[in-house]
């Protein structure tokens, strides 16, 4: 008698699970979307993947580690660690170091209008046409540096972003005598 009850119970639960799996199925891979939302979208390829989404996919599949992204920096690694429930680790310095946001600037005297940099930019931040002046739209440039290698006359340099009043930040105060060596 009890085994009959158990069989019926398990069957009912099984049907319920099947129903839920079909009714609440989510298209696509939400984890990849969540990881992609954390990544900085520089599309620079320093992580050895062709863009942020492929890297996100690789992390979700367990093929890549969370510490490969220099533009995301320590904050990005911490956010990924939090999302995936793993321990954060230091940035893999082989891919690059975390540095202040830079933007590309084209030296217009030297530019020959070859449009190789326009083709290289992953976010279409360079304005121009063949045999016409090229210029970088500062607001759209993510600092990925993918335009530097293709330029045949090496006229592109990276400059720090101009500081604006609206984006100025207060400094973080010290945590004083708790730090080692302070006296």
């Amino acid at each position: 008698m009890s085994s009959l009850i158990l069989i019926i119970l398990f069957a009912a639960l099984g049907i319920l699970l099947g129903y839920v799996a079909i009714r609440f199925k989510v298209e696509g891979d939400p984890l990849v979307d969540k990881i992609d939302a954390v990544l900085p979208q520089t599309q620079c390829g320093q992580c050895n993947f062709p863009g942020c989404r492929p890297y996100a996919q690789a992390i979700a599949n367990g093929e890549a580690d969370i510490n490969q992204c220099p533009p995301g920096g320590e904050a990005g690694i911490a956010a990924l660690a939090d999302l995936l429930g793993v321990d954060p680790k230091p940035l893999n310095e082989e891919n690059g170091v975390e540095k202040a946001t830079m933007v590309a600037v084209i030296d217009e005297e030297t530019c020959i209008g070859c449009k190789l940099c326009i083709q290289a930019c992953p976010v279409d931040a360079i304005l121009g046409a063949p045999k016409h002046m090229h210029t970088v739209i500062e607001a759209e440039c993510t600092g990925c540096e993918l335009c530097l290698p293709p330029c045949p006359v090496e006229c592109i340099t990276m400059e720090p972003v101009t500081q604006t009043l609206t984006l100025w930040q207060w400094d973080k105060p010290d945590a004083s005598p708790q730090k080692k060596g302070a006296s």
């Binding site: 105060p173 005598p177 708790q178 080692k180 060596g181 302070a182 006296s183």
Partner: protein, 341 residues
Amino acid sequence: MQFLTSNAPFIEPQNSIQKMMLWVLIALTPGIAAMVWQFGYGVLANIIICVTTALTAEAVMLRLRGRPLRPFLSDLSAVVTAVLLALALPTLAPWWLPFIGALIAIVMAKHLYGGLGYNPFNPAMIAFAILIVSFPKSMTVWVLPQSLLPTGTSFLDVFTPLTDQQAKKALIDAITAATPLDEMKTQLNLNKTVEEIRTSAVFGNLAGQGWQWVSIAYLIGGLVLMYKKIITWHIPAGLLLGLFIISFIFYLIEPSIKPSPLFHLLSGGAILGAFFIATDPVTAAASLKGRFIYGLLIGMLTYIIRTWGGYPEGIAFAVILINMAVPLIDHYTPPRVYGHK
């Protein structure tokens, strides 16, 4: 003209940790004086041993951890921990008891967790708990109150070097006895009624002889602390109310085998705990609502341990156990912010 810049507010801070700790020590003096009057100078010896050990241990730990000595030693937090521990220990405890206790409190319960501000458990109570579990016999050598000492003896006799071990033992036997709480618990287990037990000499009109005055002295100190706004009324009121309510309920149900609320309030470490131990800011709850609940829970748990637990005094374990619940209490008792429902 050029100027250096710094950040607002530019006003001298009104308080300091040192000032707060100093007031706690001042508020403890009536209680210490009452202890000396009733139970002799043993408590002073305990205090001296505890404070010296605590400060030395703190200095060593700060050095080991690479922290600056001056600000942390001069804030007197180690001194307060040491004094509270010393007051909780029996007055005739052997010297190594306060010594080990202070070491445990400062090294284990405070610095191993990160030092000032980072310890989750009350250091003095951790030390007390470890001592009472590890050295149960030494922790129960309580002196009789002054009114009950056998005629012809005085406290100073303890300090006379008695090479005759027999005589020493006889002296100690003569002047020590169980505390009122201990006596109550033991006799209840032997199926006596409360009334019968109360006739014993160790009990006074309100609670234990001698102990009731010590508790009242601590109460005066605690009220001074509240007046100076070093502590708020929430934790003491919560603790005493919790203890009162639960003891009152059981007293009403079975007055013959449950002592009265007044006895509970004035015995053992209830007043000391309410005003000085549970109010340790680092280990207490954060918001005022939370603090009241924190006090309430400690009061109730103290009664439970005293009545049904294995030890006659429950304050230490109650404080430690409710310290564990503080993050939960904090989560559920945030204050209502202006402009939010």
